[in-house]
Amino acid sequence: MCLPYLIGFTIFELYPMIDAFILSFHSWSGGIGGAAFLEPKFVGLKNYAEMVTDELFILSLKNTIIITITFVLISTLISLIIALLLDQKIKHVDIFTTIYFIPYATAPVIMGVVMRVIFNKGGVINWILKWMGLPIVDWLGPNLALFTVVLAMVWNYFGYCVVILLAGLQAIPSVLYEAASIDGAGKITQIRRITLPLLKPILIVTLFLETIYALRAYDIIYGMTGGGPGFQTLTLPYYIYWKGFESWELGYADAIGVILFLIALTIAFIQRKIIGTTTIEY
C-alpha cells in the first residue's frame, strides 16, 4: 500500500537529500560550466570549516534561531487560546475556523508583500496611528523588523495550528470534563489537568510543524524585508538561496542546508524530550 509513496519518497526526497549531503563536501557551481565544471570538486570539510568564519552565516543562524523560538512561542499561545475559545460549543464554529484558516491559504510571498505595504512607514498601520494622534512607528526599521516578520509569520500560520489543535480538543471525551466538574474542578483546573495533558500529542505535532515552518522561512521574508534592513532579517534559508542561486556556490549552500537540517532534527528531539512521550493514560 505504501509502495507508491515510497517510490515518490525515494526519488523526490531521499535521493536529493543524500545528493545534497554528498555535495556539501564538494565545490560545485551547479554544472553550469562546460565539461570541466560538470563534475563537483571534492573539498572535504572545507565548506563546513568556512561557516565558522562566515559572518553572514553566523548572523543568519542567530536570526533563524531568534525567529524560530519567538514564532513558536507566540504562535502556539495564540492558536491554543483561540482553539480553546472555539471549543466552547459556540454557534457556527466552522465559519470561524474558516476565517482563521484564510491567512494560511495565502502564499507566504504574497503575505510578505501585503505585510510590507501595511507595515511600512507610510502604510496602513502608521496611517491609523497618525489618525489616532499617536507617533508613527518604524515597523520595518532596525529595532522592530525581526519582530514584525515574526508577527507576519504568526498571522500566516496560526490558523493552521488552530485547526489542528481544535481537532485535538474535540477528540477529548466530554465525560472527563463532566466528571471533573462534578468533582468541583473549575475551568482553569480542567484545562490544566485534563485538556493540556490529553492535548500533548497534538501539541507536539503542532510545535514540530511550527518549528519546521519557522526554520524554512524564506518567502515571507523575501517579500517583506528582502533580508533587511541591512542583514537584520537574513535567515538561513534566505542565505542558502543567496549562496546557491546568486553566488552559484551550490556546495557551500548544501553544507548550510545540512546544518539547517541538523538544527531542525535537534529542536524536534528536544521538544519531544521536554514535552514527553505520546503515551497517554487516563
Partner: protein, 491 residues
C-alpha cells in the same frame, strides 16, 4: 479508565519487499538511462511502377513497356529541423515583447527553414537560479540574454562559448568599440550586445518644479552636484514631494555610478580577477554619506524606498501619483506615464557629480544586455546556434528586437533610428541624447558581482536606517566583499 499504550511496531515484511522492489526499479532505470542510443538502419524496398504513356494524337506514338522496378535503397534521412532555444527577459511589457518575438521567429525561419527558433521569455527576477537549474539538468538554453555580471561569472566558470570567431565581421566593423569592451574578458569576447540602452537618468516632474520654484539643469554643462541635488530635494520635501529610485533588483543601477561619481570604483575590473575592493577609503565613505543624507539625515527619499524589496515596485506609480518629483529610471518611466497618466510629465534631469571630485567623474548607468552562447548547448549543434546568433546581431534582428521598445541600435549605421517617431517624442530622445556620452556599463564584471552588490546594498540600507555610520559601512562592506571575492575565485 483503561490505559492505552503505544506499542512499538516491528518492521513488516511488506515494507522490506517494497524497498527491495524500489531499489530494483531504480537500478533498472539507471541502467536503461545510461545505455548508449541504439542506431538501426533498415533497408527499404521501394516498388515503383512505370506506366505506359502515349503522346497526343498526330504525333509519334511511343509505347513504353510496362515494367516494375524493384530497388533496394538505404533511406536518406529526412533533414531534421534543429531547434535553437533563446532565453530572454521582457523588454517593455511581456505581452508586447512576446508579440515581437513571434515576429522575429517568423522572420528568421522564413530564411532558415531548417532551424526552429524558439524564444522563451522568463521574468527578470530569479534568472540566475533559472540558468543554474537548467544547466544542472543539462537543459541550458543555446543562447541567453545576459548582463555583464553574468558574463564575468559564466566565462570564469567556463560556461560560455567564446564568440570572437562567431561574431560577423560587419558587426565588429560597424559597432561602437566600447560596446564590445563590456563583453571582453582576457583574450576572448564572450557575448555581443544588440542594443544600447538609454541610460538610467534622473527624471523630474516639470509641473512640480515650477510649483516649488526649482530650476532644472539645462544639460550636462549645467549638471547638478550631489549638494545641489540634496538642496532641491529638501525644498521639494517641504512641499510634500519626495525623491525615488528603482526597487530591487534594479537598485544596483545607482550603486556603481555613485562610486564612480565619488572618484572610485567598486573593484578592479578583470581579468585577471583580484580580491581587492577600491572603495575602502574616504571616497567610498562619501558614497555612504550621500546615501545617509538622502534617507536618514534629511529623509528626502520616499519612505517606500527604504529597504525596497522585490515583488513590490511602486516607484513609477508614486511618480504618477505626484508623490515623487525626482526619480531615477530608464525611458520606461515616460512610456509608462504616457500610457497610464499622460497629464503627468517626466523630463530629463540627467546625471550627478560629486562636489569633491568635480564633473570629470559625472556618470550614470547604461543597461546593455548581451547575447551569450552556452557551451553546453552549443556543442550539440554548433552550426544552427551560430546562424541564430549571427542573425540576432544582424541589422534586421536588432531592429526587430528593440526598436519598438525605444532602445538604440549599437550599429553606427542605425544611429538615430527613432528620430521623428512618436516614441522618440515620448521618451524625450533629444534631451536624453545629450547625456548618453556620460553613461558607463552597469554592474562591473567580477565573478562575485552578485555578492558584492548584495553586501553593498545591505550596508547602504543599514546606513539609510541609521544602523551603521558611513565609515562602519565601508569597512564592513569591504571586508565582506573581499571574502566573497576570494570564495568566488576559489570555486
Amino acid at each position: 479508565m483503561s490505559g492505552e499504550k503505544v506499542e512499538k511496531k516491528k518492521i513488516s515484511p511488506s515494507l522490506i519487499i517494497s524497498v527491495i522492489i524500489i531499489i530494483v526499479l531504480l537500478a533498472a532505470l539507471v541502467y536503461y538511462a545510461t545505455l548508449p542510443p541504439r542506431v538501426e538502419i533498415v533497408p527499404t524496398t521501394i516498388v515503383q511502377t512505370a506506366l505506359r504513356t502515349e503522346t497526343l494524337p498526330g504525333t509519334t506514338i511511343v509505347r513504353t513497356e510496362e515494367r516494375t522496378i524493384v530497388q533496394t535503397v538505404t533511406p536518406t534521412p529526412t533533414p531534421k529541423k534543429e531547434t535553437v532555444v533563446v532565453w530572454t527577459f521582457p523588454l517593455g511589457t511581456e505581452e508586447e515583447h512576446k508579440k515581437q518575438l513571434k515576429m522575429m521567429e517568423k522572420a528568421f525561419e522564413s530564411k532558415n527553414p531548417d532551424i526552429d527558433l524558439v524564444f522563451e521569455v522568463y521574468p527578470w527576477q530569479g534568472r540566475d537560479a533559472r540558468m543554474i537549474t537548467a544547466a544542472a539538468g543539462g537543459e541550458a538554453p543555446d543562447i541567453c540574454y545576459l548582463n555583464t555580471r553574468h558574463i564575468a561569472k559564466l566565462s570564469f566558470l567556463g560556461a560560455l562559448q567564446p564568440v570572437e570567431n562567431i561574431i560577423p565581421k560587419y558587426y565588429l566593423d560597424n559597432i561602437y568599440p566600447w560596446v564590445i569592451e563590456g563583453a571582453k574578458a582576457g583574450e576572448h569576447i564572450w557575448a555581443a550586445t544588440n542594443l544600447i540602452s538609454a541610460p538610467y537618468v534622473w527624471w523630474y516632474n516639470p509641473d512640480i518644479f515650477k510649483e516649488v520654484g526649482i530650476t532644472p539643469p539645462k544639460g550636462p554643462e549645467d549638471a547638478w552636484s550631489w549638494k545641489q541635488f540634496i538642496e532641491a530635494a529638501k525644498k521639494l520635501k517641504e512641499h510634500g514631494y519626495y525623491v525615488a529610485h528603482p526597487s530591487k533588483p534594479s537598485v544596483v543601477c545607482i550603486t556603481r555610478p555613485l562610486f564612480q561619481q565619488a572618484g572610485v570604483d567598486i573593484c578592479k575590473q578583470g581579468p585577471p580577477f583580484v580580491t581587492e575592493v577600491m572603495f575602502n577609503n574616504s571616497k567610498g565613505v562619501r558614497v555612504f554619506k550621500f546615501w545617509q543624507d538622502l534617507f536618514y539625515t534629511y529623509g528626502v527619499m520616499h519612505p517606500s524606498m527604504l529597504g525596497a524589496v522585490p515583488e513590490w515596485q511602486p516607484e513609477r506609480e508614486l511618480f504618477a501619483k505626484k508623490e515623487v518629483a525626482i526619480m531615477l529610471d530608464t525611458t520606461g518611466l515616460p512610456v509608462y506615464l504616457n500610457k497610464i497618466k499622460s497629464d503627468v510629465k517626466a523630463e530629463v534631469l540627467g546625471f550627478l557629480w560629486c562636489d569633491e571630485e568635480g564633473k570629470e567623474y559625472m556618470t550614470g548607468d547604461v543597461v546593455p544586455g548581451y547575447w551569450g552562447i552556452f557551451k553546453q548547448a552549443y556543442n550539440k549543434h554548433p552550426e544552427a546556434v551560430k546562424r541564430v546568433f549571427q542573425w540576432l546581431l544582424s541589422e534586421e534582428g536588432i531592429e526587430l528586437w528593440c526598436k519598438w521598445a525605444g532602445f538604440n541600435s549599437p550599429y553606427k549605421t542605425q544611429e538615430g533610428w527613432l528620430k521623428g517617431t512618436e516614441l522618440y517624442e515620448v521618451i524625450r530622445g533629444d534631451e536624453l541624447a545629450k547625456w548618453l556620452p556620460y553613461g558607463s556599463p552597469e554592474w562591473g564584471n567580477h565573478p562575485a558581482a552578485n555578492d558584492i552588490y548584495n553586501i553593498i546594498q545591505a550596508n547602504m540600507d543599514a546606513v539609510a536606517h541609521g544602523i551603521m555610520t558611513p565609515e562602519e559601512a565601508v569597512l564592513d562592506a569591504a571586508r565582506k566583499c573581499v571574502e566573497a571575492m576570494k570564495r568566488s575565485l576559489s570555486l
